[in-house]
Symmetry: C2
Subunit: 458 residues, 2 copies
């Protein structure tokens, strides 16, 4: 079987990030404060440094990547664009399948693209210490890695159940010098309160966010800030280097444009990273189908309403305009931990509301079947999140075969699965369950948002 | 911190492997059969296919890499050569430290370089199924990966203690379609006999080799063969693509030659892969210091005699002329499982006997300290085996600083450590032990070889 990779020369690495907010065909719905009024940037300044907040609210189309950030990204970037020739051959499809390989970063996923940038901006602003939460562990590892390179302290609140199931994720973070504790922890009021009420709780992303934010706010020196690995505009912005590189690489490969662009979508960061530059092309007239893929167990874009909701379970964050299953939603324990999020990045949500993307949902058993086919043709073991994009790419390649069309399919290979082999083990031994969100559960979860503000001027 | 990588264009990938046997300043000491006479190639033909045996006994200097093998290697090759600028800066050394990054393969180490070649030659020869043994799991994973790409059945006998300690290695092999069983197993006479005598044995590489060989021999159809991941000439040959690429990349980086070349050494395959092309340069007059690094717990080259010994514990293989601690030697349970081998590849042993390389041994605690410094400067988590090469590179960089010399140091980054984080966890919690082979234990172990033939005409 032959393999083909398209390497972008280092000198051609993108020097600017792309901000989709500048091109969306409707004004951005701003986050709302606790009073229901639009949040003022200053209100976030105890949580994020002002240079990050400026990016968060910017409507500038192109934003310079600081040369120092670019130098650090060069450790693994430009990431290869690869063509899945062996899979094409197996499927006997006329489609050409390309994938952008983000698994090559030291932390094993696309997450360091934003972690390095966020750590750098915080350092520039005089911050000494960062806090964050992590579910499956990809973001926590990425931030620990970035803080190690840049010289910042790092504290990660890891959801208890993942902390216990994946002890090696903690080890990874410790190697990079971060402190990782199981959440709820005894280190914060929010953690202690929760433990008092529920001593045996498996924890949740919502509680972990509360702890990480409280930790940042309670540092009297003012030198600690909070970071987030997805959802927010600045995080998506940092990830657009994925799509900007891929766009150049497709041209090197002799392709005018992709016909289909695919990414798995949890909070939205890798999907946005790959797709936003192509959504721009679509806005300006190119014909491209753009597909965010989510799990049937957590079908935010495919089943949720587009409305204001909290970013966390406890309702501590500002209200974000997004597709949501309700902030009280607790998804089934699927292995793609990075896709178990009740909401969706506001910019991705806007693109969906405007019909620029065509969301789809897949069951995890189908995704693992696709991951197995992938490993046995293309040779690599993908993350459970990534398997959703692969499953969709395979479906699209088969469709192209039925239609006899030589489509160009591009997807984001967001991470490798070497730290998440337990799901494969379950699949191989026939113990992996299918999950689909039942309607009654969704209706019940949506009750939690019925009294929140609605989006005006859609 | 800036990072620098030197990418070899695909068109410049080496088209031939280099065979050190052609340039060694003394005749190669042939393997001996059970009768003490030189082994005839045909005697190996039930274990290996003839095309592999021809490579094993070849004294041709350059051997063509089949284009089909090259195409598969292209999935991850040419591998990057990187410069460790951040580490240099930390050490304030005038030395320039380069490392050849073999961690980028789908199995995570250099092992697939030979696994793909061996699987391909077997397939060409009409073989349908391969067997092998694996200790730490790197070789077993690599062979499973290669067999999956090429379309061969694969059965791996994994040493029981590793099988139990690293269940995810088995999962990796299964994903690629291989069958992996704990050794001793009930699948072979050798395994059953061992279990009868020692039902609770943790297993050993020696027993696993016996099982894998017996399995290959007992296939009545004649379509099964055995494979080995290190030690033998053809395995080392396949690995020389590492050094041949690195040699070209150093030139691209503007370096005339390395002053110091370093690789960790267990059976010898990654060390040989990087160093053999440079040993050739040394034979032809270049001044290069070449250092194989082994653990103090298993100091084959630094403490063992150069003599004939069996490749396995049970004494089933031909006798090989090599440095050895005695085939009955059982090393302490250090984390670098790939370096726990009593012998050393005959070609590496010859180079050592002729003074072409300068072996050194390091304790694992020092190695983990170096691995931690590496992760926090260069950003990546290395395999425990690789940490031995890093520890030596750091020592050499410090020496260059003391001497005020702008040396070029090159080492092999043989694999990543994401599947072996347990050792880091022990180190971080202060539970990692130092091991040094005591003299009385070595003397006792060497008794097992006192009646074996000696090397003539040294």
């Amino acid at each position: 079987m032959p393999f083909k990779k398209i390497i972008l020369p280092e000198k051609d690495i993108p020097k600017k990030w792309y901000n989709l907010a500048a091109d969306l065909p409707a004004p951005f719905h701003p986050p709302l404060g606790p009073d229901g009024n639009a949040l003022k940037p200053e209100m976030l300044s105890r949580i994020f440094p002002m240079n990050i907040i400026e990016q968060e609210v910017s409507s500038k189309r192109w934003i310079d990547i600081p040369p120092q950030v670019l130098k650090m990204l060069m450790l693994w970037r430009p990431a290869p664009l690869r063509r899945a020739l062996a899979l094409e051959e197996y499927l006997k499809t006329p489609a050409r399948i390309y994938y952008k390989d983000e698994s090559v970063s030291p932390a094993g996923s696309h997450k360091p693209n934003s972690a390095v940038a966020q750590a750098w901006y915080n350092k520039q602003f005089g911050i000494k210490r960062l806090t964050t939460e992590t579910g499956a562990g990809q973001w926590g590892s990425a931030l620990a890695f970035a803080c190690s390179l840049i010289g910042l302290e790092c504290k990660v609140y890891m959801v208890r159940i993942s902390f216990d199931q994946k002890p090696m994720r903690k080890t990874m973070m410790q190697i990079w010098g971060a402190r990782c504790v199981a959440s709820p922890s005894r280190d914060t009021c929010a953690g202690r309160e929760t433990l008092k009420k529920m001593p045996n709780t498996p924890g949740s992303l919502g509680i972990a966010i509360s702890e990480a934010v409280e930790d940042a706010l309670s540092d009297k020196s003012g030198k600690t800030r909070y970071t987030l690995g997805s959802v927010l505009n600045h995080v998506l912005l940092h990830q657009t280097i994925i799509g900007l590189e891929a766009r150049k690489q497709l041209k090197i490969a002799g392709e005018k444009k992709p016909d289909v662009v695919i990414g798995c979508a949890g909070g939205g960061s890798n999907f946005a990273g790959l797709s936003f530059p192509f959504i721009r092309d679509k806005i300006y007239g190119e014909k491209i189908e753009i597909i965010p893929v989510e799990p049937t167990a957590c079908p935010t874009l495919t089943k949720g309403p587009f409305t204001y909701d909290f970013g966390d379970t406890a309702g501590l964050t500002p209200l974000l305009a997004m597709y949501t299953l309700g902030h009280g939603f607790v998804p089934e324990p699927i292995h793609a931990g990075g896709l178990r999020y009740h909401g969706m990045a506001p910019l991705v949500s806007m693109a969906a509301a405007k019909g620029l993307v065509s969301p789809r949902s897949y069951d995890q058993v189908k995704c693992y079947e696709s991951a197995m086919l992938w490993a046995r043709t293309e040779g690599t073991i993908c993350a459970p999140e990534t398997s959703h994009a692969i499953a969709c790419a395979i479906d699209e390649a088969r469709k192209a075969k039925r239609e006899g069309r030589r489509k160009v399919i591009l997807f984001c290979y967001s991470g490798h699965g070497l730290m998440d082999l337990a799901g494969y083990d379950k699949f191989l031994s026939g113990r992996l369950a299918k999950y689909k969100l039942p309607g009654y559960k969704l209706r019940k979860s949506l009750e939690s948002i019925k009294d929140l503000p609605k989006i005006k001027n859609r």
